[in-house]
Symmetry: C2
Subunit: 107 residues, 2 copies
């Protein structure tokens, strides 16, 4: 169950462009096979994304797909520094409903 | 709905200690009022935590509580560099079930 935790620091003057980019593309990402979670967050300056994919194959198809290519093209100019993309694995601890991002995903 | 995305870089020789710490304390955190998600992840070296709290008051009670005090005490010696604790807010986009960490939390 691939999990991705990403952090993006936009140039201040391009922050709205990055928000517009995700407003446009997240519905498309949610429609990709195996996308179980793709959730955007912000601390007011930077963006933080938490993703959960059903299988490694689904995640790799997303990585190679056209939507992410579009995103990369915009981010290449809009970020103040390289994005931090962390491909991680869940360590399920405690309650099943609170210890993993998507309990029904079957860790 | 407070969301926290944290990143912890343990000293290599203390990595197991940090894992043991969370193995012990996550069940206690899950039992704290308003804890809807506290999920541990790793890339093999660092740890990544994603948290979702029902209310700001619940989150602040956690921050001031005894379990986090215990965690801070261990981390103060076990990390290779200061922890990154990012208090963020959800930007709900796309499908309600895939665009936020906890759809039933009521963004």
């Amino acid at each position: 169950m691939p999990v991705v935790i990403a952090r993006l620091a936009p140039k201040p003057e391009r922050r709205q462009d990055v928000l517009d980019l995700y407003t446009e593309t997240i519905p498309q990402i949610h429609a990709e096979p195996g996308c179980e979670l793709f959730a955007l967050h912000t601390d007011g300056n930077e963006f933080f994304i938490v993703e959960h994919w059903a299988t490694e194959e689904d995640f790799q198809a997303h990585v190679r797909g056209p939507v992410l290519a579009t995103i990369r093209k915009v981010l290449a100019e809009a970020l103040a520094k390289p994005s931090e993309i962390n491909r991680v694995d869940s360590i399920p601890l405690g309650e099943a409903t609170k210890g993993v991002l998507r309990p029904t995903g079957g860790e």
